[in-house]
């Protein structure tokens, strides 16, 4: 069976959940082979988890330079493997860094690039959810290899024991004139809350929250549900919450199991970033707020009394 390459998404050896989703998806297309690009010792930390989620092979492309250049080490390692194993597909996480690797790899190997897939079948037919979930589009690469960027949170992770056989691959020397050198790396550490695009539950606040201080109502509910915190553009523009938590057309697209919208009217801009959530709960004072049109359960009322009450109820049930 053909090997399907999965670029392992990790931050300094800490795995991101999306990697396991990609291994799950890769199994439909062939034999999953994980590719670890990192500093020496990275693969050793990740190998067990990769094998437990179906990696038959783990290609190890380790070098000190792996973190010193922007996307080039990943593109180089993957391009060499594409040449060698002619995979039907290469899966890469659809974050900012991953899409850059994917786009460059597609150019270098002259492969079709299926960006931001939420589903793929055994015939390499991919599904995109575009314009914030307003449309689904089916497409396929017409080339031998499809480069796929995979949207986090799209499918259920399956555990599936793989052999996880490690193989070191040669890391090509970096061409300085064509590469961008990186220093002072500061990965965002999300604290104790899950990352917004990876979370199973998102609790988001909008203009109705009223102030930065009041956002602790949103945070408290989020923490009771082990949820990520999101914010609407109106809330971010008003300075209530930092930009990186913005959900919507000009922010993040999320698709969690549960999305709770507090004081968010539900403008088309916002819905574009969250309407593919499996279950949507909304609290808003305005009974005409458009968010209720897509909410599975809506409560018309004051979020400052409803949210704390919900936090308490959740607490009772989890203790």
């Amino acid at each position: 069976m053909a090997e399907v390459l999965v670029l392992v998404d990790h931050v300094d050896g800490e795995i991101k959940k999306n990697t396991y989703e990609m291994l799950t998806a890769a199994r439909r297309l062939g034999e999953p082979a994980a590719v670890v690009v990192g500093t020496p010792g990275t693969a050793a930390k990740l190998a067990e988890g990769l094998a437990a989620h179906g990696a038959e092979k783990v290609y190890v492309a380790e070098s000190d330079d792996a973190v010193n250049y922007l996307s080039t080490p990943q593109v180089d390692a993957l391009a060499a493997l594409v040449e060698r194993v002619s995979p039907p597909a290469v899966l890469i996480a659809a974050g900012a860094d991953g899409r850059e690797v994917a786009g460059r790899l597609a150019v270098r190997t002259n492969s079709g690039w299926l960006n931001d897939l939420v589903e793929v079948d055994g015939q390499r037919e991919g599904t995109h959810s575009i314009f914030g979930g307003a449309f689904t589009v089916q497409s396929r690469a017409t080339t031998d290899t499809a480069v796929i960027s995979w949207r986090s949170g799209s499918i259920e992770i399956e555990e599936n024991a793989g052999a996880g056989t490690q193989e070191n691959v040669e890391v090509p020397a970096i061409d300085e004139a064509k590469s961008a050198k990186v220093s002072n790396r500061a990965p965002i550490v999300g604290g104790d809350r899950p990352e917004l695009t990876e979370a199973n539950v998102v609790v988001a606040g909008g203009r109705g929250v009223g102030s930065a201080d009041n956002f602790n109502v949103v945070e408290t509910l989020a923490d009771s549900l082990h949820a990520a915190v999101g914010a609407s553009r109106a809330a971010v523009d008003s300075g209530y919450y930092p930009n990186q938590f913005q959900v919507g057309q000009t922010g993040k697209t999320v698709s969690p199991q549960l999305y709770i919208a507090l004081g968010i009217s539900g403008a088309i801009q916002h819905r574009a970033g969250m309407q593919t959530s499996k279950t949507i709960v909304a609290v808003n004072k305005d009974p005409e707020a458009p968010i209720f049109e897509i909410a599975d359960f809506g409560v018309v009322g004051d979020l400052f009394s409803i949210s704390p009450q919900l936090t308490e109820e959740v607490g009772k049930r989890s203790s």
């Binding site: 922007l70 690469a141 064509k178 961008a180 930009n243 308490e312």
Partner: protein, 260 residues
Amino acid sequence: MNIVVLIKQVPDTWSERTLSDSDKTLDRASSDAVLDEINERAVEEALKIKEAGDAEVTVLTVGPDRATDAIRKALSMGADKAVHVNDEAIHGSDAVTTAKVLAKAVGTVGDVDLVLAGNEATDGRSGAMAGMLGEILGWPSLTHANSLTVENGTASVKRETDEGTCDVTASLPAVVSVGEKINEPRYPSFKGIMAAKKKPVSALGISDLGLEAGEVGLAGSLVQVDSFAPRPPKSGGQKVEDEGDGGQKIAEFLVGQKLI
């Protein structure tokens, strides 16, 4: 210094966007078109470099006739000239093919030192065009810049993404994509608007770029779109008035859905 700024006209994100039934591409005629906000920041950054020293700023766009509006806006901000690649054959090009067209078009501008672009368009959202263009040109790409310094043949940026921040440096020629925080673009002045009318815009077709029709557009693309469908509208579910038990009601609903 010779700077090229990539600009793009996109459907306004506040208007309804759809796809065309006939060829499954973005229906650009059905929605309002605007110069993508992020492109204005790329233009602004080029103008800052020009004002600090000596540079010629060329804006480059690939798009239909009405992309002229985006070009005029950039020229009225202060860019010197424009290249408009306008060819029906390009319609439907995928990201890789678009990158190839852009690379050829950059080649028509002469010895370019720096290409500036927005980090992500609001329509295609591939977010990787700078990297792809750099890959084709054989130049380094410095992406998601929230600050840019160019001196002594080196570009340095502070890069910021959702994943973190870092400093990035590379030698010129290079491609830089700018993020939301890099600057506040200027408004065109009346003088700028008048001057823009006299600035040269060269219109090019694919043959001017040395490309054949089969290499671009739907025919040249490496991805084919098989079908699309509007997502079935999500219907609202229950809506209740809070009677002092709103939080409890939600908790009951979540228990019923096995979510807590």
